[in-house]
Symmetry: C2
DNA sequence: TGGTTACTTGGCAAAACAACCAAGCAGAGG
DNA sequence: CCTCTGCTTGGTTGTTTTGCCAAGTAACCA
């Protein structure tokens, strides 16, 4: 990575990298339906608890998730309500044939 | 990756992973100002041409970029006009203190 | 206090990724 | 035809990531 990255882009990379993993995206998508504790997330993705915990750390460090400890459990939630909108944006970054774009059709 | 991913999420992961690299994000951001050929991109990121070419392959495979050969040059462009909107969405997936969210303030 | 549950952290081996060099390939122009 | 430029592909090496096990920490309960 020779080129220096400005802080804004660096934060973007952190978020994108955090979400660019099958298990981590799955976790984040699941949290759109509400908070989950680590065990529930473990059942969802099927990995070892330690692996899940590390995934969650990465997502929290990137600012995607927030966590709250209640009793013995740690509950994870989306840090931002706009994640659904974000996913729509991801889906719109799509391979539209340039012919369509040249014809003035927008993909979003 | 034990849990099977549905095709939609798999595509999302590909896009997010492709953009979750400093050079690749830099390239994509630069293309918002218009098409660039490989040499120009090489000057931008400062990597070896072969490295740049591989980055571009990844971005094209993910559907983020499109390429067109004209003469000796290969020009790369954004596959979708909505990339600026996408970046806004990325920036909005932010670490807002839960206190703010609890108070009903939306981050986006 | 000791035990149990829930989670995190450290450490390690396997896998994936990144970046370089070298070689190959395709057009353009002698 | 040859050569040169622009880009891609193959190969190698070094780094990063991933995922498991084991050990450690924290909160609850008896």
């Amino acid at each position: 990575m020779p080129a220096r990255l400005d802080p804004v882009s660096a934060k973007r990379v952190a978020v994108l990298k955090a979400l660019g993993h099958p298990s981590r995206l799955l976790i984040t998508e699941a949290l759109m339906d509400g908070e989950l504790c680590v065990q529930e997330i473990r059942d969802l993705v099927g990995d070892d608890v330690s692996t899940v915990s590390k995934h969650l750390s990465i997502l929290r460090a990137a600012g995607v998730l927030a966590s709250e400890k209640r009793g013995l459990n740690v509950f994870y939630t989306l840090a931002c309500d706009c994640f659904g909108e974000f996913l729509k944006c991801v889906d719109q970054v799509c391979p539209v044939p340039s012919a369509l774009r040249a014809a003035g059709r927008k993909c979003c």
